[in-house]
């Protein structure tokens, strides 16, 4: 099990509101789930993934939560290639030749 050391840059997860504590106006499917929160900070103690630890965030707040990632990476990218865009591009160029 991966462990964080005190001072590591980590992400913690918190249950802010359980399903029964959610806002009355939330749609039914949303109300069936808890309101979750993630925030990053420096670990204030060692801990294993899933364990509750405290972090100090960039603004100096202390936040408690379940350790969910260590040095969390950015997962977004340019996605899979979308060939439909090539169809559009080729069409646009040929239309411009007619113009």
């Amino acid at each position: 099990m991966e462990r964080a050391k005190k001072g590591d840059w980590v992400q913690v997860k918190q249950i802010v509101l359980p399903p029964e504590g959610r806002a009355p106006q939330a749609p039914e499917d949303t109300k069936a789930t808890p309101l979750l929160l993630w925030v990053k900070g420096f670990a204030k103690s060692d801990g294993a993934m899933g364990e509750e630890i405290s972090v100090e965030t960039l603004t100096g707040r202390e936040v408690k939560g379940e350790l969910s990632a260590i040095n969390p990476r950015y997962v977004h990218d340019f996605g899979d290639f979308v060939p439909e865009f090539l169809v559009i591009d080729v069409q646009l160029r040929s239309l411009m030749e007619e113009v």
Partner: protein
């Protein structure tokens, strides 16, 4: 004493938290009935155009290039009747420091926070505004927290929002991420209470005044280049600040005759707070899920009185489809060499069809672009949509069903002009307002004049809607 942090308790402390976090006593502008003095609020709580130009200029915000889109204009003319096909220009707002027009709003908000001694700023936003506030906070030396609605309950994040998280963190902000739901506001209030930071809301008088320079600037640039103000300005409409600020700036530049046209992506049928629907949309802003509710009731925002009041300014409101915006985003890159958007190209898509009904010697300004990059680009948006079971196909854009499919137009001629009936929005605004009447004499004479101004209509229109409401009860 420990504070009660339950949803109900925090929401119950809303007014006192807000007062400390904005420093505006909104009650000064209230009449006690429906109406409030909007212009006085904008004047007294905001900044003058000259002050804002100075504030923005100090951090390199504004004075963005105005570019003529000659090839897209030529393409629009191919589908326009003889003599039609207005010239299309774009204000390249992506060249602002944080890559979008939102830098204008953030510059004034952060300046105001600093001047009033706040140590930090907080904004609740999943969009470009987060990066803008974070960038301004970095420039002006304040701490910054951005609260995002980012994930569904499986912790799957919209790529566009994940990119905004990265951008905010790149500027040194703390990003608090939440699963979907209306309680974003609850977390936001809790953080304001905990930190004592400034509420850098999108909807304060100074935030909206920050956008006025955009309308003013484009009218000035246009007069210098073309000799007159543009015939129409198309504005991507979501929360209403872009429309309101731009239109007010045009008026301040004496360009009252310029038509103000709003444009949103049609996401009808998707519930914005639904865990299931959250990742089935390919636009996280500029869509009807914000555009219509904020037009028909602006005071649903994170401030007591919203300074963004789009129905006061909109002359027309056009709807476009997701597939159409992606198509035009490709056209902007392929034909004009500008890789921007996609969400910011909502107004360009509307302009492409609007141009076809206007004369060739007329002019349209698309008043924004936004930066593009990983996550925030047609490629990751469409591949994310496909992974979420959305069908992607070519066909008639009118067959697009948000959350089910994305239909790319078979050719640019298939992109259509869809008018949203503004009178419908006006009726709905008046109904929402009348629902708030609590006293015997409501609506008062003053309220009637207020409702007419709020809906850019007149007293007889307001009266007729009130009578319709009475008749239906």
């Amino acid at each position: 004493m420990t504070l009660d942090m339950s949803y109900e308790a925090v929401m119950g402390r809303k007014n006192e938290i807000m007062k400390k976090a904005i420093g505006i006593d909104y009650s000064e502008f209230e009449s006690g009935s429906l109406s409030f003095d909007y212009e006085r609020m904008m004047h007294e709580a905001g900044y003058s155009l000259d002050e804002i130009r100075k504030i923005q200029g100090a951090t390199g915000v504004g004075n963005t290039p105005l570019l003529e889109l000659r090839n897209i204009t030529a393409l629009a003319r191919k589908y326009a009747p003889a003599g039609k096909g207005a010239r299309i220009f774009v204000k390249d707002e992506a060249s602002n420091p944080s890559g979008s027009f939102k830098a204008r709003r953030a510059a004034t908000a952060v300046y105001h926070a600093k001047r009033h001694g706040y140590k930090g700023v907080i904004a609740a936003t999943s969009g470009n505004y987060g990066a803008a506030v974070a960038s301004q906070a970095a420039m002006q030396g304040l701490k910054c927290i951005i609260v995002q609605e980012c994930y569904d309950s499986r912790m799957i994040g919209q790529p566009e929002i994940l990119e905004k998280q990265r951008a905010c963190e790149a500027y040194g902000a703390e990003v608090v991420q939440l699963t979907v739901g209306p309680e974003l506001f609850y977390t936001f209030l809790s953080l304001l209470e905990e930190t004592g930071y400034f509420n850098a809301s999108l909807y304060t008088p100074f935030g909206i005044a920050g956008v006025e320079t955009l309308g003013y600037e484009l009218a000035e640039q246009f007069r210098e280049r073309i000799g007159s103000a543009p015939d129409a300005v198309v504005v991507t409409h979501a929360g209403g600040g872009n429309v309101t600020g731009t239109a007010r700036g045009l008026i301040k530049a004496d360009a009252e005759d310029t038509l103000v046209v709003g444009a949103s992506v049609d996401l009808s049928g998707l519930h914005m707070a639904s865990d299931h629907d959250f990742n089935r949309k390919s636009f996280t802003t500029g869509h009807t899920g914000f555009g219509i509710p904020f037009a028909t009731w602006p005071d649903r925002a994170d401030v007591p009185r919203n300074a963004a009041r789009p129905l006061r300014y909109l002359d027309r409101y056009l709807l476009v489809k997701q597939g159409e915006v992606f198509y035009i985003t490709e056209a902007l890159a392929i034909l004009e060499g500008l890789e921007r958007g996609p969400a910011g190209n909502t107004s360009l898509t509307a302009a492409f069809v609007l141009a076809q009904e206007m004369d060739r010697d007329q002019t349209i300004v698309v008043q924004e672009t936004e930066y593009t990059g990983a996550g925030k680009h047609p490629m990751p948006q469409i591949s994310f949509a496909k992974k979420n079971g959305i069908e992607v196909l070519f066909g008639d854009p009118d067959t697009e069903v948000p959350g089910k499919n994305i239909v790319f137009p078979e050719n640019p001629g298939a992109i259509k002009l869809r008018e949203f009936d503004l009178d419908k929005a006006r009726r709905s605004y008046i109904r929402n307002a009348i629902d708030k009447c609590r006293s015997e004499g409501c609506p008062s004479d003053e309220d009637m004049a207020f409702l007419a101004a709020e809906t850019k209509s007149d007293r007889s229109f307001v009266q007729s809607v009130i009578e319709e409401l009475k008749a239906s009860k």
